[in-house]
Subunit: 177 residues, 2 copies
């Protein structure tokens, strides 16, 4: 029926009037997409001396392990977003402690804000985006089966700051790809 | 002529299939706008004991004073974005030192990342978005003519950390609106 006809928009890169760089502009209606860097919020969550990991149930990197993290949503703080992602992916309830790291991933225009968080109790259970969840000792971290380099950065940055407080957030390791 | 006809897109808020919250969907072509929080990058820049301010040439808050800051762009780091905004608005060349503050402004879905920066030389000059620029002593800061609450937060957070290094970034002051 006519009301549900859909035209897939075709975007072209051009510099809109009054702007100074190329934007994605809809070739059909002229709508300008101000495509901005995205914020990923997440947390390294601990219970006693263990860290909370989740095995991804979705692509990309299905089957690999990660710390809970995902896209920040509108109208939430970065801390609220990190706690929400933890809850959605691992079922855990946490108290956000402080900002562990800020990683710039310029090739995909993402800024990762990874917090330290303490679990309120040892409960965890996989959400829809996870196959399983686990509280893992440092010696049992599956380094070869982590989903992304950022996960290993966050775990190492966490390990280096146990017992510390009031520190500058870590950045990308020197020489990281 | 036909090729330049433009239809202003009308967006409706609805939950796309497979999603769990409302998004802005184009009523004409079905394009989903994933409207994410925006990152503002900026810096409190110093030369000796003075801070660099710019008086805004554009709305909103034309004529009021600010520290240089603006929307982070694609494919730059947060530090590069802060230095770029400084250069664009004040003509100054700076070295980014560390992350002074992370302010969540949930009512407008913005995350402000404000760095400390050292000017490489005392040169500054207004860019297109500034009426004038100034290196201002603490006692001369125009508190009643600052453009935004975030500017006064950043200046006060800066003053409290002179001589300190390796600290956690400041957050919003308690009880701020
Ligand atoms: Zn369109
Ligand atoms: Zn459209």
């Amino acid at each position: 029926e006519q009301g549900t006809a859909r035209v897939r928009p075709v975007f072209e890169r051009k510099i809109p009037a009054g702007d100074d760089r190329e934007r994605l502009v809809c070739g059909t209606c002229g709508f300008i997409v101000y495509d901005n860097p995205r914020i990923i919020v997440g947390a390294v969550c601990t219970w006693e001396d263990r860290v909370l990991l989740a095995r991804r149930a979705i692509e990309p990197r299905r089957g690999y392990w990660t710390v809970p993290a995902g896209f920040m949503e509108l109208r939430e703080t970065t801390e609220e977003g990190a706690a929400r992602e933890v809850r959605e992916e691992t079922g855990a309830r946490v108290r956000i402690v402080d900002l562990l790291a800020l990683y710039n991933l310029t090739h995909i225009s993402q800024v990762h804000l990874i917090y330290r968080a303490e679990m309120m109790d040892p409960h965890h259970a996989p959400g829809q985006e996870s196959l399983e969840t686990a509280l893992v000792a440092w010696s049992d971290i599956p380094w070869d089966d982590l989903a992304y380099p950022t996960v290993s950065w966050a775990l190492r940055d966490h390990a280096q700051r146990i017992g510390l407080s009031n520190f500058a957030p870590a950045g990308r390791p020197n020489g990281s790809p």
